[in-house]
């Protein structure tokens, strides 16, 4: 149990970066961007190809992020300059990326990375010498864990990377450009009347969003030890699930809080998924339907709760009035 939860958190925090990307397009720009399904794989593919060809894993990861940024830019250009509907721009880009990703991967739908040096392995040697793994594992065992992870390095690197990404996102959304970006999603007519070029803001915003998605894809590929052409399918739903679950549980009062909520949402999503897959008759093929049900649940439940609360409140008022009438 401990081990599967550990894996869920570890994977969840990598996907959290993707979820932040989806938050930027879906919530901040109010742009339902389906490019994500493609740009996630683009990130993995670029990183894998670079690493296989001897580029340092850190550089490879950065290049992957840039590739995602460009993909998002193109979706933005299709939408703003080509005047194509947002949903369709994303679908077109996603479809095109499928072929482009295959090209990047040199025509093979799967590139193994198991024997290559990844960002996690790069720091792995140094890490294992510190003996932190043994220490943490012995604590875990003392708490009753029967199986322990081989290393905690992925979790530690990811916590640091995700926090950095969160802080950069928070900062960016508070800058003058960031404010204009948020207003573009909130009231486009207004920010245009305040001399902001909304076309460019959308193009940059979608670039930022897909850059994060590709970064997440690159890190997932390095963690999994391979990149697969089809690994992006349904990625947008996972991202949406994380955003919606996070916002529903942790609230969205300020930007700082919302980005944290999205990260935690991504982790909770993984935990719920792991628990769901423990059910006897469900197997890993059912993941997509579980994701879809989770999103529906997260969307419907808050409204349902609010309705019930409101009913109770009105009932209470009615009863109070009745009591008063009786008293009088």
């Amino acid at each position: 149990m401990f081990f599967s939860m550990f894996s869920a958190v570890e994977i969840g925090i990598i996907y959290a970066i993707m979820a932040l990307g989806v938050y930027l397009s879906f919530r901040v720009l109010d742009f339902p961007d389906l490019t994500v399904d493609g740009s996630f794989v683009t990130g993995g593919a670029v990183a894998a190809v670079c690493i296989v060809n001897g580029v340092s894993p850190v550089t490879a990861t950065i290049l992957a992020t840039i590739a995602g940024f460009v993909a998002g830019n193109i979706t933005g250009i299709l939408n703003t300059k080509g005047k194509i509907n947002p949903l369709l721009s994303g679908i077109l880009m996603m479809t095109a990326l499928y072929s482009i990703n295959l090209r990047i991967m040199g025509g093979s739908p799967n590139i193994p990375l198991l024997t290559e040096t990844t960002v996690f392995k790069m720091f792995g040697d140094f890490w294992s010498n510190t003996g932190i793994d043994q220490q943490l594992n012995s604590w875990a065992k003392a708490w009753g864990a029967e199986a322990v992870p081989s290393t905690w390095i992925v979790l530690f690197i990811m916590i640091i990377v995700t926090i950095i990404v969160k802080l950069i996102t928070d900062f960016f959304l508070k800058t003058e450009v960031g404010l204009a970006l948020r207003a573009t999603g909130d009231n486009e007519k207004m920010i245009r009347s305040l001399s902001a070029n909304t076309d460019n803001l959308k193009i940059v915003g979608l670039g930022f969003s897909n850059g994060l998605v590709a970064l997440s894809g690159a890190l997932i590929a390095q963690n999994d030890g391979f990149v697969d052409l089809k690994s992006g399918i349904g990625m947008i739903v996972i991202g949406l699930a994380s955003v919606i679950i996070g916002e529903a549980i942790f609230g969205k009062k300020t930007i700082v809080r919302t980005t944290l909520a999205v990260i935690l949402g991504a982790i909770i999503y993984r935990i719920v998924l792991t628990l769901a897959l423990k059910v006897e008759f469900l197997d890993s093929g059912d993941m997509k339907v579980i994701s879809a049900i989770l999103v529906v649940g997260a969307l419907v439940t808050p409204k349902f709760i609010a309705t019930i609360k409101d009913q109770r409140r009105r009932q209470r008022k009615r009863l109070e009035l009745q009591d008063k009438a009786k008293g009088a």
Binding site: M190, R192, S193
Partner: protein, 264 residues
């Protein structure tokens, strides 16, 4: 300050729905002019505003602001020089952002937006000072989301956002029409104050004739895409609603009953 030369706009040209929204409009505003624009629905007032702001390109004619030809400048570039308040109180502010964030966006209007923090301590003080002039207590609610404000408060904020960077031109597009009478009066009063304070060159469209007479130093009346009356100075001071309606009847020679109902 503002120069419109031979502006014409036609919608749906060559179809049965063809509509000449503006016909050979020539209009010059001097620095500090406050012009009120009246006219019935479809007279071309909104199109005139849109041509000035750049959201509508004229078929022919030129728009100059401060002797600079801006006819081909897109709306977002032109809005460096132009502040605008819309009729809909929801249109001028971003509801899910805070008051201070909205002001910060307006503050950046005539500057290049960069990767600097939008709401700094120094700017907060400045925003508070400006909000103080509205007398609505908004200066104590800098962190409130604008969506929580009432229509009147939002419109007052929109007015402030459109003016405090001292734009070359201020466009007011029936900006009190969606408010209740007491709020409309407040916004009208604030408009007079703020235009005075910054000596803004202003063009205000209104359906309220009394407002058109009370505010500004010049009044133009539009009908069927043309300016049919243009009075300023002492002549405007002595105008009354009755005189205006009489003028309109004289010029157009038609029954005014419908328009009286709309304009009165």
């Amino acid at each position: 300050m503002l120069d419109l030369k031979d502006i014409s706009v036609t919608f749906n040209e060559g179809t049965p729905d063809e509509k000449k929204a503006l016909q050979d409009i020539n209009l010059t505003l001097e620095q500090g002019d406050f012009v009120t624009v009246i006219g019935s629905n479809g007279a071309g007032k909104s199109t005139l505003m849109n041509v000035i702001s750049g959201s509508q390109k004229p078929d022919i004619g030129t728009v100059e602001i401060g002797n600079k030809n801006v006819t081909s400048l897109p709306e977002f570039k032109r809005s460096r020089y132009i502040g605008r308040v819309f009729q809909d109180p929801m249109a001028g502010t971003a509801p899910s952002m805070t008051i201070e964030e909205n002001l910060a966006m307006a503050y950046a209007r005539n500057k290049k937006r960069g990767l600097r923090i939008g709401v700094t301590k120094k700017r907060k003080e400045l925003f508070k000072e400006y909000l103080n002039t509205l007398h609505l207590g908004l200066e104590d609610r800098l962190n409130a989301k604008v969506g929580l404000l009432s229509g009147g408060e939002r419109q007052a904020l929109s007015l402030l956002m459109a003016t405090f960077t001292e734009p070359n031109i201020l466009l007011l597009d029936e900006h009190t029409a969606a408010l209740d009478p007491s709020r409309a009066e407040l916004i009208t009063k604030l408009t007079g104050e703020v235009v005075d304070k910054f000596h803004l060159t202003t063009l205000m469209v209104t359906h309220n004739m009394q407002q058109a007479l009370d505010l500004g130093n010049r009044l133009i009346m539009m009908d069927k895409g043309q300016i049919i009356l243009d009075v300023s100075g002492n002549e405007k001071q002595s105008l009354t609603i009755e005189k205006l309606l009489h003028e309109f009847k004289r010029i157009r020679g038609q029954q005014m009953e419908n328009d009286r109902a709309i304009l009165g």
